[in-house]
């Protein structure tokens, strides 16, 4: 693989850009791999990358039913933060956030990580108390956050209306090193690096059955034929229940549709990310200038990637109250993604009832921020067969054992 650099740009400029290589190969599947990963979203690709980079396992295939990054990874609103309440959450999200800081250099691919700061508005007395508690927890966890007053909120984000009649802004939990990244670039960067290590990314290849012998996985059937493997990683977000069914177990997961929308591009007006959980909306401005807006999930099981219209209305209504200047902005596009929700709103990185089969799911409405850390922890689990310190609390068996990692109280909203 030729490295991307300022010299490469100059060289290609001189020869009409005829020398750029394809970013990844599109090979036909081999008969057998040491490890197969189902799902080429951010989490699946990151898992493969760290399997190769940290553990030297490179005979790996990543199987994707659609196109890589076409699931939630390419549909999310790209907020990155690590200001969670529980220690095990803070550990993995902060690992991910800190890997994001140097990811562009590591992958030799510009993922446009922009630590512009994230603020979560407190608009009720309960939220003030909750966020102060989180700020204290973060101080103990070594995650830099701060509870700030309404004056500072207005200073950091002048377009906010802080004295709304129903929910005035009373303060915010501020994480200065949170921010955003380019979602497609994260998938593409990992894909390019995986392909460069000799891994096979096979798109348009849906897994339709999981085969086993003596309680262990032996391979999968796909729309491109049978493929054998020693180890299987299931990393399919909203389709986790479908894959678990193929592998013969059930999960504590329900799939719901979460929506987002973007406006027409406008001049720069907002250089932080704002989340307003009480009124249910969040917004940031992309580098192109469009306002990126996220809203609520439908309440019922859903695989349609569309979403109900009234949720958009609710979100937009809330945001117009918070940011009156957007009231006449035109919305360009709206879409949905199928998010995998667990009862405690925390993810699963776990062994499964089927031997040599591992699952990474349950990131629900908030897993983009976790991609590097999750891939790191999942690769560790798949390489060693046992979870390392980052993953061990996230077992799928924690529900039976009552060891919830309860973030639904702290962050029970799309993010």
């Amino acid at each position: 693989m030729k490295r991307y650099s300022v010299f490469a740009v100059a060289r290609e400029a001189l020869r009409n850009h005829m020398g750029w290589e394809r970013a990844w190969r599109s090979p036909a599947p081999k008969v057998r791999y040491d490890a197969i990963i189902v799902g080429a979203g951010g989490h699946g690709l990151a898992t493969a990358y760290y399997l190769g980079k940290n553990h030297g396992i490179r005979n790996v295939a990543i199987l994707e039913k659609g196109w890589l990054g076409g699931g939630n990874t390419g549909r999310n609103t790209t907020i990155i933060r690590s200001n969670y309440l529980q220690d095990s959450s803070a550990a993995i999200y902060e690992k991910a956030r800190s890997l994001y800081e140097t990811l562009s250099q590591d992958l030799n691919y510009n993922v446009m990580f922009s630590p512009r700061g994230v603020m979560m508005l407190a608009q009720t007395q309960h939220e003030i108390r909750g966020y102060k508690r989180t700020a204290h927890a973060n101080a103990l966890q070594g995650v830099e956050t701060e509870f700030i007053g309404p004056g500072r909120v207005k200073e950091l984000c002048p377009i906010i209306h802080i004295d709304g009649p129903r929910y005035p802004v009373l303060g915010a939990l501020w994480q200065p090193r949170g921010g955003t990244a380019r979602h497609d670039a994260v998938a593409w960067g990992y894909a390019r690096a995986c392909s460069d290590m000799g891994m096979d990314i096979i798109q348009q290849c849906e897994v339709t059955a999981v085969h086993q012998a003596d309680g262990k996985v032996t391979g999968v059937s796909t729309t491109k034929g049978e493929i054998a493997c020693d180890r299987l990683g299931i990393v399919v977000a909203g389709h986790s229940g479908v894959l678990a069914n193929m592998a013969g177990f059930r999960l504590p997961i329900e799939s719901l549709c979460l929506q987002a929308l973007v406006s027409e591009p406008i001049k720069p007006c907002m250089d932080v990310v704002v989340m307003a959980n009480t009124v249910h909306g969040y917004m940031s401005q992309s580098d192109k200038g469009d306002m990126v807006i996220g809203g609520g999930t439908d309440g019922f099981n859903n695989y349609t990637q569309r979403g109900s219209f009234h949720h958009i209305e609710e979100t937009v209504r809330a945001l117009i109250e918070t940011f009156p200047m957007i009231s006449r902005l035109k919305m360009l596009r709206q879409w949905g993604g199928i998010v995998d929700m667990t009862g405690d709103r925390s993810p699963i990185i776990s062994k499964t009832p089927l031997g040599n089969t591992y699952i990474n799911c349950g990131w629900g409405t908030g897993g983009f921020k976790a991609i590097p850390g999750s891939g790191w922890a999942m690769a560790d689990l798949m390489a060693k067969g046992e979870p390392g310190p980052l993953a061990e609390e996230f077992s799928m068996y924690r529900f039976r054992e009552g060891k919830f990692i309860d973030e639904s109280v702290a962050a029970g909203v799309a993010h």
């Binding site: 389709h239 986790s240 229940g241 479908v242 069914n245 059930r250 999960l251 504590p252 997961i253 329900e254 799939s255 439908d298 309440g299 019922f300 099981n301 859903n302 695989y303 349609t304 109900s308 219209f309 009234h310 009862g343 529900f399 039976r400």
Partner: protein, 109 residues
């Protein structure tokens, strides 16, 4: 918008008039059950891509709970029936079979 007909008042209710209540026909396990039984009842879900049975409440109507058979992949509704049913009634199963021959859901078919 998703529209379900309330089996009690017969109103074709829009989604905004209803509250979703999750998977239907769960068998409750309480004190005295095994950990596995309790875990399965409390947390494990079918979550299928396709035919699904679920609970709904006519929240801004008669206020009553009812059950619905629906396809989670197409949002097609096969029918609704009273919450007192411990299994989907035959006419609902027939309506599903007409459109999805060979369907199964837990022990139902």
């Amino acid at each position: 918008m998703l529209t379900l007909t309330c089996p009690y008042c017969g109103v074709a209710a829009d989604e905004t008039e209803l509250a979703a209540g999750g998977e239907a026909h769960l068998k409750r396990f309480g004190p005295g059950s095994t950990d596995a039984e309790f875990d399965t009842y409390m947390f494990a879900r079918e979550n299928p891509k396709g035919v699904h049975f679920e609970r709904w409440r006519h929240a801004y109507g008669c206020g009553k709970w009812f059950l619905a058979a629906r396809d989670t992949n197409t949002l097609e509704v096969f029918g609704t029936y009273p919450a007192q049913s411990s299994a989907p009634p035959q006419h609902i199963r027939d309506a599903i079979t007409a459109k999805r021959p060979g369907w199964t859901w837990r022990d139902f078919a």
